[in-house]
């Protein structure tokens, strides 16, 4: 039974293919279109998925869209009526989009894939999220908490999920409705802080540790009231996301917090003036988000009685909140699927149809995120040869790893392209930029000259499992988050003394544990680095430049290398270095 899941039309469109309940492939459209967070129908990602399975669109049994378009349309119309006579620009823009495209989702998909419309199904946005978390988890029963901006009408929901002898079930227990949403609240403040919505939320998280949360927490808590049972009420006088297409907060918010930051303006969180104020606001926002996640999780625990929690939705990508929930929350174990945002809806929708509607058995839990496209050593070598890019080819991975470790140990920064591309927003060693994590100056160099991004943003460490206890402080609970770089934990004293480039200003790090069983090649490379330096940790960040999606192909990886200050690029078992690259880059004619 072949089920293709699709998510699209808001942000992070994606496709995922399950064959007899097993995940064969999953990828985001942005990696093909090269538009970050691309929302268009994921035709190329879908084409990749079916090609990976060796089938065609015609062979698919079901195609399932991650949400119900008409239910969403109904919410838009009632919302327009609610705010009338305001909200004209929102009405005109959203109706234009819906009447022109989104209302016809079924026929658009059928036409684009050339399939029978009767084979197209529609899941529910939050149910898709919930399915993606539960069916990828190692749990046979769990509470599921979903939270994002808004789905059709729901902004967060609690489910109870069970797999037993009777099959799999996913039952909604309770939900919060639009416009009261932690995701929308976080996004509105992200816009206030001058960052792009649906992209800048990570930056807010990185900025928060520079600030003092207590200064603005009372003000923010007044406009985003968290109830004892984890419910949430926004004071809508401060927000305009429900009636304006581009502006998500009102002047009243600026009266409360001071003038908003102009997008693109300089931001130094330690300037003692506006930069510090923005950091303080980010800190208060982050603190409030963590408070809500804890309260909602406590409610999920209370109403379901389950010991384990699965989380999904954009809010579940808040790795600081995740880390605190996993360490001190009410659940014994916590699992978050690596593509917890809207992209994950494609996977969840396909899992929901496979395991719940069709009753197919569950696949083994997700141990790694390598579900995307790959290029073989032969393809990479052919590309380099055709383009006359001088390179060195190693006979084995072990030889390659020795050479990379040596370069990293002497302070070089490299790109690493190997295996299948990662599923989700994190690079986990397949499309990564790697460096020695021991010096703080290395972090500054990677930010300034390679990633061209804000100086306050931290880098993540990728660590071998037996190094985690040495460098990081982890709760004595099973850890399902760090393999996907989804939790922030405190760095130990030894870690702070050793890992300057990956320790954030508050002494924390978003650690990735690299299990040799799940990611053997990346683990072997870190092992080679440990053999040379005594530290089994690497700085790991995604292979892309600011504003671009993570690279997919060897050619795109070379493009990143070409436009940045990377010292070397590893493409499978081939090594390109800057010195050889420079000698040949002018050779166009």
């Amino acid at each position: 039974m072949k089920v293709l899941g699709l998510s699209a039309f808001f942000h992070d469109s994606a496709a995922a293919l399950l064959v007899d309940g097993q995940v064969i492939a999953a990828a985001q459209e942005e990696r093909w279109s090269r538009l970050k967070a691309d929302a268009s129908l994921p035709l190329e990602a879908a084409r990749f998925c079916v090609t990976e399975a060796g089938v065609s669109f015609d062979d698919l049994d079901w195609i399932v869209f991650h949400e119900k378009p008409l239910r969403k349309f109904e919410r838009l119309v009632t919302s327009a009526l609610d705010v009338f006579p305001r909200g004209m620009s929102q009405f005109v823009q959203s109706m234009g989009l819906w009447l022109g495209q989104r209302l016809w989702t079924k026929s658009n998909i059928a036409r684009a894939l050339d399939v029978d419309p009767d084979r197209i199904l529609f899941s529910d946005h939050h149910r898709s999220h919930a399915a993606s978390a539960f069916f990828s988890s190692p749990f046979e029963r769990a509470a599921v908490l979903t939270a994002d901006g808004v789905g059709e009408r729901t902004t967060s929901a609690i489910y109870r999920a069970v797999t037993d002898a009777h099959g799999s079930r996913l039952e909604l227990v309770k939900e919060l409705g639009f416009p009261h949403s932690m995701g929308l609240f976080y996004s509105a403040l992200t816009a206030y802080l001058g960052f792009e919505v649906n992209d800048g939320e990570y930056k807010v998280m990185g900025l928060a540790p520079f600030g003092d949360p207590t200064r603005h927490l009372p003000a923010l808590a007044r406009i985003c009231h968290i109830h004892d049972d984890g419910a949430l009420t926004l004071d809508l006088r401060y927000f305009s996301f429900h009636r304006h297409p581009t502006r998500s907060f009102t002047r009243r918010l600026e009266s409360l917090l001071g003038p908003a930051r102009a997008p693109g303006s300089a931001l130094d969180p330690r300037d003692g003036r506006d930069g510090q104020r923005f950091a303080d606001i980010a800190a208060a926002l982050q603190r409030l988000c963590e408070r809500w996640v804890m309260a909602a999780a406590a409610e999920a625990r209370r109403v379901t009685g389950e010991d384990n929690l699965c989380m999904a939705g954009g809010v579940a990508l808040n790795s600081v909140a995740n880390g605190k929930l996993a360490a001190a929350g009410p659940f014994h174990e916590v699992f978050v699927q690596p593509a917890a945002g809207d992209a994950g809806g494609a996977l969840g929708a396909a899992q929901l149809v496979s395991h719940v509607a069709l009753g197919l058995p569950r696949a083994p839990p997700m141990r790694d995120a390598l579900l995307g496209s790959a290029e073989s050593q032969v393809e990479v070598a052919r590309f380099l040869d055709d383009c006359r890019i001088r390179h060195e080819t190693f006979a084995s991975d072990a030889e390659r790893d020795q050479a990379i470790a040596e370069r990293l140990a002497r302070g070089e920064v490299g790109g690493l392209f190997q295996d299948r591309m990662e599923w989700g927003p994190r690079a986990l060693g397949a499309r990564s930029i790697i460096a020695d994590p021991r010096s703080a100056a290395m972090g500054e160099r990677v930010n300034r000259k390679i990633k061209f991004r804000e100086q306050f943003r931290p880098f993540a460490p990728a660590a071998l499992p037996d190094e985690v206890e040495r460098f990081f402080v982890r709760a004595p609970r099973p850890d399902h988050l760090s393999p996907f770089m989804l939790s922030v934990v405190p760095v130990s004293d030894a870690g702070r003394a050793t890992l300057g480039a990956v320790t954030h200003v508050d002494g924390s790090a978003r650690v990735q544990t690299v299990d040799p069983a799940a990611s053997p090649r990346f683990a072997a490379l870190i092992e080679a680095f440990r053999a040379r330096t005594g530290v089994g940790v690497l700085l790991n960040t995604s292979m892309n430049l600011k504003g671009e999606p993570i690279c997919r192909t060897a050619a795109e990886a070379y493009g990143v290398f070409d436009r940045s200050d990377l010292d070397f690029l590893v493409l499978e078992r081939c090594l390109v270095t800057k010195s050889t690259h420079q000698r040949h880059s002018g050779e166009l004619s």
Binding site: R34, L99, V162, A231, C387, R563
Partner: protein, 267 residues
Amino acid sequence: MIEHTQRLPFVMRATTPIAWRNDRAIATKLMGFAATELGSSLDMLRAAERTDDARLRRLYFRHGLDEARHAQRFRDAAKRVHPEAAEQTRAHEKLHARRMDLHEQLGELPFVAFVHSAEARAKAQFEVLEAHFASHDRAELATLFREIGKDEQRHVAYSGAILDGWRAAGRGAEVDRALRQVRLRAAWQGWRRAGRRIGDVMVRVLLILLFVAVLPLFALIQRCARRRDEIGWRHSGTQSFGSQSLGSQSLGSQSSPSSLDELRRQS
């Protein structure tokens, strides 16, 4: 073959001072250029993936890298000139930095003809802009356009050499036809763009009329019939697990099992 592009600078010289009138306009235009270059880079890289000819693959690939570099330089320059305008134009950039899959649509020879024609046009345009900024004491921008213009000149040269090679191989008629079609295509695309804009304006006007004339009645009805604001958790109406009490608001059919019948519904 690039005769028609020779007319461009004449028109451009007249319009440049208006289009590039202040820092905000300059930053917005530069971001537009960045988007165009990025879109072109994506097309060149896709062409490099698709072609079977190793030499063309190399040339397309290098060309694609050049375009990506240009996009980055235009973006950086826009941010230096007017950071806020550059940031605000990012949405605009997203609309335009699309790959058009031209290699797939056109085939090898027409694709090269298209590249040749487009690069010649860009080169002419950048020459005008270089002169404009040099005469307005904006040395940084003049240098930017001069340097990128040099790359465009190389692109014109290599694509011209390929076309000449095909001519020498007896495909002259095919090359000439492709160049003519490129010109027709440009005109057709311009017409379609204009049509889209006109259609967009008409739809907006109709929707504004709908908003003003029809919505008030429904908004009034909604307000009279509306329940109190739904604040707090809404409880599921179907509970097969657990023992918690249900709230007053029920979710109704939304909580029904995920059967295929339910999944067929879009609402």
